[in-house]
Point group: C2
Amino acid sequence: MRPGFSPDIFPPRGHEAKRLSIVDAAAGVFCREGFAGANIDLISAEAGVSRQTVYNHHGDKEKLFMAVVRDLTERCNVGIFATIATFPDQPGDLEADLIGFAVRLNQNCICNRDGKFLRKLIQTEGERYPELFAEWREQGPGRTWPAIAARFARLAYGGHLTIDDPDVAARQFLGLANAELQTIFMLGGTPSEDEVLQSATNGVRTFLRAFGKRPSPSSVKKHTALANA
Amino acid sequence: MRPGFSPDIFPPRGHEAKRLSIVDAAAGVFCREGFAGANIDLISAEAGVSRQTVYNHHGDKEKLFMAVVRDLTERCNVGIFATIATFPDQPGDLEADLIGFAVRLNQNCICNRDGKFLRKLIQTEGERYPELFAEWREQGPGRTWPAIAARFARLAYGGHLTIDDPDVAARQFLGLANAELQTIFMLGGTPSEDEVLQSATNGVRTFLRAFGKRPSPSSVKKHTALANA
DNA sequence: GACGATTTAGACAAGAGTGTCTAAATTTGT
DNA sequence: ACAAATTTAGACACTCTTGTCTAAATCGTC
């Protein structure tokens, strides 16, 4: 590292790129093989890097694993909050808007590479690293659920929904939207776009049957018109 | 084994008991450590058996793993069908009866030892043994979901519910009943009785808001009476 | 108590993986 | 093109695990 000059940015340029490709490859291998089954030779090969470089960057296997989980958590959080920002606060067609939101949440946060990997690592190794996953819990669900619940609360306050407990409603919303994807998730598969849309559509319809306002005359007219179009 | 007599029952008595204790211990260790991380010495120690006995019974690690999954699948299926048999076909108080059913399903099939273990093994190692888990899918979800859906269809036919698609309704029922337990399941934890009851209660209420018949005058009277009691 | 079958403890070879080290090759900034 | 830092390949010691083997101990049954 440079003698006495700007010691804060020691790694030049390709350095950081290699760090990323290592973490990326490691994520894939840890997910496929589990922590114990993952081997550093395979990770380095998949990252296109020598084994020694992996050790230079991350010290040992356990530290590498931690880095993977932290990276995934952070990237997933960014995606989730970006998606929450698209929540329909002033809905035009509430049903269509909520279906769109549910589909975006699935495609951008749950079914994408990062989401799948993070979920699997939590399920697989969660019990082995209590502090690490406690941190995930605070940073992840602990911040995203209230954010989603707040959006539903606003929708209720605006008169678009009839909700007792926004927290419960938020969890039930996702439970319904993903009701038909559970078996696929369980086996680590990725549902097709159609499957996501189908599940979200059925889920949102049920959600609105339970929490939607009884259709006012005008909206009935509108829906009927659409159905006949 | 006995010279020329009844060659079908070679293992005497304690033999089968040991086989069971090995499979039991193996289930626990495979779940905690993953397939690669599980070690036969630990399994044999936990089963109270010598390592050689494990090999005598199951040949090798992979065959042992298969035996574990098959055993768990079979035991879980028994539990699930036993619980489905308690589905309220002629409900008195529909809400209470469905909550009871949801709680039983959780406690006897999903949150119990076998259910937890099987779920974790499927999530963790499902991709590594496609045929094995294809078998599970047919024997498990492939048979239980239609059975549950049929019960909801009967309830709808009997005029207790308004359902378009019984298969969708069945999946949404479980999705709602477990909506509040997802984070706990994800980390491999076991929800408390209270948490199960709470989630089931909220889930069933929402389910009935969506699919229940509008309360008839008599049932309103009844519920009001109960509420005031 | 005696017999056959099962289980046990321990040693063993073979293989795989981690983490370290070194010297040579390569990349990077100037 | 130079100098410093980084990366690389390969060898290495060490540990752990699997699966086999053997001889002694134990169990169940007659």
